[in-house]
């Protein structure tokens, strides 16, 4: 049994559909260059901390994971808070649609990376050395998925994360857990993302 749609609900649906269509053709200015650069520095600091705290990460995988989980959580929280505030300010008329799209584009890769960690640590502990490479590869997929709504050169950051991830996997053993693999990949990668956001955007950031 179907209920007739009230004209007011249809009107609201139409307005919402126009907004979504406009959002799909709008470059996203919600990510802030300074915040993204800061997360790159966090990654480098975490790599330095790992060098001191976990000299043998293969045998202390718990501490290794805690360092990188903490870095990821702090970075994600910072980016999330700043993106919310920035999107509401810059994309005022489209803020909700733009935030939803940014989350839809990036969340699957973050979710896949988190689930991979759980499965490898719990069921295939012998392959935990693959985690840094897999994190970087899933992260690159998130960057590629977001590319359509970001400045075009952002694809370079996706390529960077894909290459560093493949390099980590190519190492073929616990050398992939050394501090530089994550520190270099995310340190340089996030600075690259910040540089693209700062100089790669062709549109006026105060447009909608």
């Amino acid at each position: 049994m179907s209920f007739p749609i009230h004209p007011l609900d249809k009107a609201l649906g139409d307005i919402s559909s126009i907004r979504r269509q406009v959002a799909r053709t709008t470059e996203f200015h919600g990510y802030g260059a300074a915040t993204l650069a800061a997360t790159g520095i966090f990654a480098m600091l975490a790599a330095v901390a790992q060098g001191f705290l976990v000299p043998d990460p293969a045998n202390h995988i718990g501490i290794y994971l805690r360092i990188w989980y903490a870095t990821a959580i702090v970075s994600a929280t910072l980016i999330g808070m700043q993106t919310l505030a920035r999107t509401r300010r810059i994309h005022s008329g489209l803020a909700d649609e733009m935030i939803l799209m940014a989350v839809e584009q990036f969340l699957p890769s973050v979710g896949a990376g988190a689930l991979l960690s759980i499965v490898l640590v719990r069921f295939v502990p012998g392959s935990v050395w693959m985690l840094p490479g897999l994190w970087q590869i899933t992260f690159s997929l998130g960057v590629f998925a977001s590319c359509r709504f970001l400045p075009r050169p952002m694809a370079a950051a996706g390529v960077w994360y894909l290459l560093t991830g493949l390099t980590c996997i190519g190492l073929g053993d616990t050398r992939a857990l050394t501090p530089w693999t994550m520190g270099t990949a995310y340190g340089i990668g996030q600075l690259l993302v910040a540089a693209v956001l700062l100089w790669g955007s062709k549109e006026d950031a105060n447009e909608s």
Binding site: L8, T25, G93
Partner: protein, 128 residues
Amino acid sequence: MKAKPSGTEGRFAYEGLDRVIHERARLSVLTSLITNPKGLTFNDLKQLCSLTDGNLSRHLSVLEGAKMVEIIRGHDRNRPQTVCRITASGRKRYLDYLTILEQVVRDAADAQPEVATALLQHLTPSRA
């Protein structure tokens, strides 16, 4: 005794309901252009909005005068071609208009059925 109206003064003034946009043909033109940010040719726009040449020209000149669209006259394969594109200011005004329009519809949805019907009639964009 007459009941006092609820809410603050000017609550239902809807001053952001831009008169330039609040006209059926111009609303169609702007909606077509905002969802095609690279622009549309005059003929595509005419078909999408079901307008005649004269009507579309008239509405485009109103929108161009309000700096909401830009009209680029050029050539495609040696044939004259006119491309219409929404400007940054047109885009901003359209989104502001959409926000107010949504507010009107929400207010109507919260109101009694008979008030809602009256508001909906008021909401229908005018025909020029």
